[in-house]
């Protein structure tokens, strides 16, 4: 049996149950309306299927797993998703509390460790937290409220239909009253009601859902420095470690001399970590680890290592040459991702064609908290504290890497100081665990910013070629989009240069344009670095290309951008996957098409809202312009209208209007903050952030050569959230704000200056 160490921080709750049993609570089964069937009239919301059922371990709706109520009435809710800034740690429990009629001031939130069989899927990415858990959270909250009411009815001997639950109080028809704590034990002993047995709140009864007034649970701790992140957990006897990793993925130390490193005061030991490479999932890159009594000694020790690196097979990876190859590949037919109509006939009959090619460099996530993790290995097992997006994956990966029983590995999830996809990959956690076993003490693994920039799982690099056929009246009759980019698949399996359906589904073959003949193709590109996923993933290059192309086509045909977009999007309709030339394995973000269709009406609407919001078409001084772009991703629709202004030879973006249709919006305040953040992160992608390779190694290293948007040049962002009732399914929020931003800025730059840029990052100077 593994015993868990007590961290200095607030301990993670180990098991959840009714904390204390009150005397009154024991009366649970003696009432007139005892058990089994709930008598309440149903007022269920219409349940709908989502991709959640298809995720590993699906969704767990057992209130006993997620809710406990103390005798004093304190409601403790489990947050099972990782908090990296989106607010899901607050928003999902908020939905539970609302449907439960709990007073938010009496709610505590505890973070679940990695345990998907217990909690359901915990993989916090894909903009899925609210999309996959809003129904579950309502069900859990509604179950608890129903059980509390039934327990009260039993105790009072009344019809449960006459019992009301309001703000932490249960009331009977004759003026009876009980608190949640009074009824908790009896309630939790009752059977969990089915969906149909729950009288859900109507939307006008929501207290917290949809209001945007509940503040994130860690708000005060963050502003006072008390919040606990990955590297902040302090264990007695802890050692501090850093690793010198091979500059080229798949490389290794041909030889090394640690004599001088071991002479640095505070350095205690040096260890060689097994080498990784491509197709090894999230395994560490390997290298030479220095373990010391403090971080600074470890860093000095690492500097003192003498290592001869062998580059290995990826030592000839050079970004310039690679980009030329990808562009050349895009000139040739690739594998079909969509074939609608007869493109060859369209091009054969065309009056003319119009072709452009767009490129994009790799991107590194650089969350403000560089990767860091704490591991404590003892004879009894392994305990981890780490800022990870997928703690159960971490648990299993580490157990496998270290030949441990997963039952003896516990992964505690701290707050994440940003994730953006980087912290889905827990190579840094495995490093900490391996070293803790080696040195027989708790170890904190610390990555420096240089480590982070140079040893990431990079967003792919791409070349995108789009060609359209035009008839004599300048109608677009054919659309050919060839995308060439190394695939995420190469991180998991030996690379044959092909992308996955999910990468094609992110903006390539789901293009919703009203064009009769559409062909989308993927060209081969072999990966030479670890390809991961960065906020919005393949949507970034696809939206970049499509959005820029629409801007160029508008100019070519003498139309304004809005008109061009709306013509291409066409009349409001839902894309019919059966008659659109899409492959059987078309990927709709894992969601059923019937419930989460591709809706051109929504797409046009967000475009119009953003364009109207910024005043598209208004007169602007010379050197200023507005760019438009819209993109569907993570089954949401986001449009960006960017006002570009040239100031002292620099591209500035003083204003953006972003419009998002994310279906029903549970927490508008956090949706706004996500969209504000995505707008600015998209601007970093547009202007600043590019990772390039020379001889297999990353050229950039820290903020001075891998810069991001700072406070001297960022837009005021006005966020328009399209309102919807609950019946319009909640969709993704964290990621879909990013893709339309770069093409909107490029189109705005062109409008301002006539300068058309086709490579990301564009650079900030004109």
């Amino acid at each position: 049996m593994l015993k868990y160490l007590e961290p200095h921080s607030e301990p993670v709750v180990e098991t959840l149950r009714i904390a204390k049993v009150s005397r009154r609570g024991f009366l649970g089964t003696t009432g007139a309306f005892a058990l089994a069937a709930y008598a309440m009239p149903a007022r269920a919301f219409d349940k709908y299927p989502t991709g959640a059922e298809g995720m590993p371990h699906g969704v767990v709706e057992d209130p006993l797993v997620f809710v406990s109520i103390d005798a004093d009435g304190t409601v403790t809710l489990v947050a099972h998703r990782s908090e990296m800034g989106t607010g899901s740690r607050t928003s999902i429990p908020m939905v539970m509390a609302d449907e439960m009629e709990a007073d938010w001031n009496l709610v505590k939130i505890v973070q679940a460790p990695g345990d998907e069989p217990k909690y359901g899927n915990q993989d916090t990415d894909g903009s899925r937290s609210m999309r996959h858990h809003i129904q579950m959270a309502r069900k859990i909250g509604g179950s608890v409220r129903t059980m509390l009411a039934q327990a009260a009815a039993n105790e009072w001997g009344v019809d449960p239909a006459t019992v009301t639950v309001e703000m932490h109080e249960v009331k009977g028809p004759a003026g009876q009253s009980a608190g949640f704590g009074d009824l908790a034990a009896a309630a939790m002993a009752l059977p969990v009601p089915t969906h149909e047995e729950i009288a859900y709140k109507s939307e006008d009864q929501f207290r917290y859902i949809g209001k945007g007034e509940v503040q994130i649970t860690d708000l005060r701790d963050i502003t006072t420095g008390a919040a606990v992140y990955g590297g902040d957990v302090m264990l007695d006897g802890m050692k501090f470690a850093v690793v010198a990793r091979p500059p080229v993925v798949g490389g290794k130390a041909a030889s090394f001399d640690a004599t001088e490193a071991l002479a640095v005061p505070g350095v205690e030991s040096v260890h060689e970590i097994p080498y990784g490479g491509l197709a090894q999932k999230f395994a560490p890159l390997g290298g030479i680890a220095v373990v010391a009594s403090n971080t600074w000694a470890a860093l000095k020790g690492r500097d003192a290592l003498k290592i001869e690196w062998e580059a290995g097979e990826h030592g000839s990876y050079n970004s310039d040459a690679y980009m030329e190859e990808m562009i050349a590949t895009s000139e040739q037919p690739g594998s079909l991702a969509r074939d609608q109509g007869d493109l060859d006939a369209a091009f054969g009959d065309a009056a003319r064609t119009f072709t452009r090619t767009y490129t994009q460099a790799h991107i590194a996530h650089i969350p403000m908290e560089p990767p860091a993790a704490i591991a404590s290995y003892t004879a009894e097992g392994l305990e981890i504290w780490a800022p990870v997006q997928s703690p159960y994956t971490v648990r299993n990966d580490i157990a496998e890497a270290m030949a441990l029983d997963p039952e003896n590995v516990r992964v505690n999830v701290t707050l994440l100081g940003g994730g953006f996809g980087r912290k889905s990959k827990a190579d840094f956690v495995t490093e900490a665990a391996l070293l803790s076993r080696e040195v027989g003490a708790p170890v904190r693994m610390q990555w420096t910013r240089e480590d982070d920039v140079r040893h990431s799982f990079y967003h792919t690099t791409s070349a995108e070629r789009i060609e359209v056929s035009l008839d004599a009246e300048d109608n677009v009759t054919g659309w050919l989009h060839r995308s060439v980019a190394p695939s995420i698949l190469s991180t998991f399996a030996p690379d044959e240069g092909n992308v996955l359906p999910l990468e094609q589904g992110m903006g390539l073959n789901d293009v919703p344009f009203d064009i009769a003949n559409i062909r989308c193709e993927s060209g081969k590109a072999l990966a030479h670095t670890r390809i991961g996923w960065f906020r919005a993933v393949s949507n970034i290059p696809h939206a970049w290309a499509i959005g820029s192309f629409v801007g160029e086509l508008a100019d070519e045909l003498g139309k304004d951008q809005r008109t061009m977009w709306l013509e291409l999007i066409g009349a409001p309709r839902q894309l019919d996957p059966q008659n659109s030339g899409l492959p059987d394995n078309f990927w709709n973000y894992g969601e059923p098409m019937a419930e989460f269709p591709i809706d051109t009406g929504k797409m046009a609407h967000v475009l119009n809202v953003a364009a109207d919001g910024i005043g598209y078409g208004k007169d602007l001084p010379e050197g200023e312009g507005i760019g438009l772009a819209v993109h569907r991703s993570f089954v949401s629709y986001v449009a960006c209208a960017a006002h570009v202004k040239i100031v002292d030879g620099r591209i500035t973006v003083p204003e953006m209007h972003m419009a998002i249709d994310c279906g029903f919006c549970a927490n508008p305040e956090r949706v706004e903050s996500q969209i504000q953040g995505a707008a600015v992160m998209g601007m970093s992608v547009a202007l600043h952030s590019g990772i390039t390779f020379e001889n297999g190694a990353v050229v950039q290293s820290n903020f001075y050569d891998y810069d991001v948007v700072r406070s001297d040049n960022y837009p005021t962002v006005t966020t328009h959230i399209i309102p919807h009732p609950f019946s319009v399914h909640a969709t993704g929020v964290g990621e879909p704000g990013v893709p339309p931003v770069a093409p909107a800025i490029a189109n705005g730059l062109y409008a301002a200056t006539g300068d058309r840029r086709r490579s990301l990052p564009m650079g900030v100077n004109v």
Binding site: H8, E83, M84, G85, G87, Q215, I216, D218, L219, R220, I222, T223, T224, G225, A226, A227, V228, Y229, G231, D232, M234, F240, P265, G266, N294, T295, W296, A297, I366, P367, M368, E369, P370, L415, L416, G417, G418, G419, F420, Q446, R449, E450, E669, S673, Q676, G677, A678, A679, V680, M681, N702, F703, Y704, V708, V709, R710, S711, D712, Y714, P715
Partner: protein, 152 residues
């Protein structure tokens, strides 16, 4: 071996003189509210007050601190700090929160020097504090709010 105060308490640290204050705070004193972001004074996450003025603790060597007064986020107080922290809460500034200790430090220092900053004052003063979640819009609003509170 330098002796200085941290949040009003005298400390003597047995670490190399070239140890950055950042790592001394985090590893030795276990004051983890001060965050590591870049190590080269490019991001502001590690900002602390040295004798009342903001410095990057990743570039402040412990050996230079004899007799100095250090204030970290854990010990930050005074009317400006209180106004800033309250404004941060009121305006829901943080997303992931990692950079916010440094942002709060920098904003507090700004308001001590410039009680009624303009947008340009704010954007210039906060230039060195990177927020990858991009809370800049709300940071600016929160600093204005704090300034209004202080003005009464």
């Amino acid at each position: 071996m330098a002796t200085f105060t941290v949040n009003g308490k005298s400390v003597t640290l047995d670490v190399d003189d070239d140890t950055p204050l950042l790592w001394a705070l985090r590893d030795e004193l276990r004051l983890t509210g001060t965050k590591f972001g870049c190590g080269i004074a490019q991001c502001g996450a590690c900002t602390v007050m040295l004798d009342g003025a903001p410095v990057r603790s990743c570039q402040t060597q412990v050996g230079t601190l004899d007799g100095a007064e250090i204030t970290t986020i854990e010990g930050l107080d005074g009317p400006e700090a209180e106004a800033v922290q309250n404004a941060w809460t009121k305006i829901d500034v943080p997303q992931c929160g990692w950079c916010q200790s440094g942002q709060v430090m920098a904003a507090t220092a700004l308001l001590k020097d410039t009680p009624k900053p303009s947008d340009a004052d704010i954007d210039n003063a906060m230039w060195g504090n990177v927020c990858r979640c991009a809370t800049y819009v709300r940071i600016r609003a929160a600093i204005h709010d704090a300034a209004d509170t202080l003005e009464g």
